[in-house]
Symmetry: C2
Subunit: 369 residues, 2 copies
């Protein structure tokens, strides 16, 4: 078990990663009442275990429907009403047990209920454990506009237990691993090599299951390492003005792909995987990537598992949907370009023709395959 600390100008909280980390809730006393917000299927699978470990025994949790459509102000309003009706007040604690959606919505509810109550994030997916539950970003969508309304609000504590990942289906699990690959590219050769080495062993080990010596702690160690990358970045830049932008590696193409497919057909991590491939190719085309590195990155991304095909999505479509910075004249695109494993650079003047060619090279196949 590893205690990490997010410590920036306005934020200061712990991220505890490892088997048994849920017990961290036992230390959190002094609240007038404690509430759990979760998804029904997560509670059915993990509720008993959660109560045993955390000793937080809510009369009944608040439930949020599974899926992106729960990221709405209508759901927020319903949750706030339920909290009030059950007697929550300014001294209450909200524990959010779930994946990215529950974390985003629960964090937003906590940040605005009676102008802010304490919130503990207990992430239950790979992406949430290494990324979305860390950093204090909360949000809901407005219609098709993703994360249009939200807050920066530090959780009181983040408790990530990787053994819960055993109940993820294989595709969702893999989707999170692509974000882990992204973190490894940002972090450097040591973590990247570790990931190359243990990728085949990356599977969750159920709680209580006997584990052969030397096996089973691999996932825990990788999750811990990947979470540390996020902790380190957001500690230095809690808002998005500067350094935090590096976390968008792979997300420029990725967002465009999600838009192009109307957020259907690709899990977020899968879109990021295609984005990582395309931006790595782009870095090669720009002559910015050190020799041999493109092949290593592409190989690791592909080894995670099969991706839904993108052959039918043209570079013209992608180019139109690249996220632009509206503050800049002409709508600059801030590319996060890998220069080598462990080093990226924000570049604003990438020719669109190069981006188009990178996308085409990747979607048609054959590049570093």
């Amino acid at each position: 078990m590893r205690r990490l600390r997010v410590s920036s100008r306005n934020f200061d909280y712990e991220v505890v990663v490892g088997r048994g980390s849920w017990r961290g809730l036992r230390r959190l006393t002094g609240y007038s009442s404690r509430f759990v917000l979760t998804e029904r299927r997560i509670w059915e699978r993990w509720g008993k275990h959660f109560v045993r470990e955390s000793r937080v025994a809510p009369p009944a949790p608040l439930f949020i429907p599974t899926g992106e459509q729960s990221k709405s102000l209508r759901i927020v309003e319903g949750l706030a009403r339920q909290l009030a009706e059950r007697g929550a007040d300014r001294g209450s604690l909200l524990v959010v047990l779930g994946g990215g959606v529950a974390g985003d919505v629960g964090g937003f509810v906590a940040s605005t209920f009676m102008r802010g109550i304490d919130c503990v994030e207990v992430p239950t997916t790979v992406v949430a454990q290494v990324d979305s539950a860390i950093g204090g970003k909360t949000a809901v969508n407005v219609g098709a506009m993703k994360n249009l309304v939200g807050t920066f609000y530090p959780p009181r504590l983040v408790l990530a237990d990787p053994s819960v990942l055993v109940s993820l289906d294989a595709r969702t699990f893999r989707s999170g691993l692509y974000e882990v690959v992204k973190h490894a590219i940002l972090d450097g050769p040591e973590f990247f090599a570790q990931l190359e080495k243990c990728l085949p062993d990356l599977r969750p080990v159920p709680h209580g299951r006997r584990v052969r010596p030397g096996q089973g702690r691999v996932l825990e160690s990788i999750i811990e390492r990947a979470a540390r990358v996020k902790v380190s970045v957001v500690s230095r830049d809690e808002r998005e003005a500067g350094l935090r932008r590096v976390l968008n590696l792979g997300h420029t193409f990725g967002h465009a792909l999600e838009e192009a497919s109307a957020y259907r057909g690709f899990l977020h991590g899968e879109a990021v995987a295609w984005g990582l491939l395309a931006v790595t190719r782009l870095a090669e085309l720009l002559g910015r990537l050190a020799p041999g590195q493109g092949e290593r990155i592409a190989r690791l991304v592909r080894r995670v598992g099969p991706l839904p095909p993108v052959r039918h999505i043209s570079s013209r479509t992608i180019l139109k949907l690249l996220p632009r910075d509206k503050k800049a004249v002409g709508g600059q695109i801030h590319w996060v370009i890998p220069e080598r494993i462990g080093k990226v650079r924000i570049v604003n003047d990438v020719p669109l023709a190069a981006a188009a060619r990178a996308w085409d090279d990747v979607r048609r196949g054959g590049w570093h395959e």
Copy 2:
């Protein structure tokens, strides 16, 4: 014109009070775009003047319907959608021109749109100028639950021009003066005496109207002074844990009265006026109020103007609705008890029988009349 500064641990912004203060917006440059949120009738009356003074010329403002029912997440969602559709981004500025409702909702929109954009509050009522626009509290209601969802979010700037108060109807104007009386009680004998002296002259002077020497600046000076009280309190305690509670003077009975009348029949300031009378009587009954002070406070409150009667609202009804602190065992009531003009004390152990008698003495009339 007076520049005040709210300066606390997390907040730092200016509150400019006085004729011509809207020009302060000319200094605020560097935003990718600027939007105005206001009420239709305020824009019709003040829009041209606002554009001339502030040099903020929006293609068309965003409008919020007049009235408390606009304090909803549904309205927030609509405003966020409109902002996005008009191209607002993280570098945009939202200027909120209006009274308490617009300020609360507009502040909440600004604090959550793309996780927070800058907001300038331009309050147009007495209550907003001396109280609600200062301090960074934003909120919307959920059903009948007032201010259940909100944020603490500092405005970039507050610009209060008292000459805009000329367009308030007499009752709304007076309603705000009761909050000014509250601020004077909190502040001390000097401000209180000033208010006693110039109450008859407190009326807004229209822009452009010629003003006799020595006349017309009275209101400006009183508004500035009252705003300074709020600035001083929130600078020392931006959240509500401690000192800020003194601002609830008169609000304990006042809230109960608003609840008892289902927020109809009394303007907020009128309910506070009855609350000030009742809590002053309570302080007398508890033997906590210095001699002669009760009569002075009651007299000043009554001189502001006629109040809607409360004879029909029993002390039993009021007692049931007193706001309780759910964090404390048994639901303590935090009374803000005046000890003399310029000194209040938070008291938690007031016998309910005394509160009942204070209310009855006040509602039946005869006390210091």
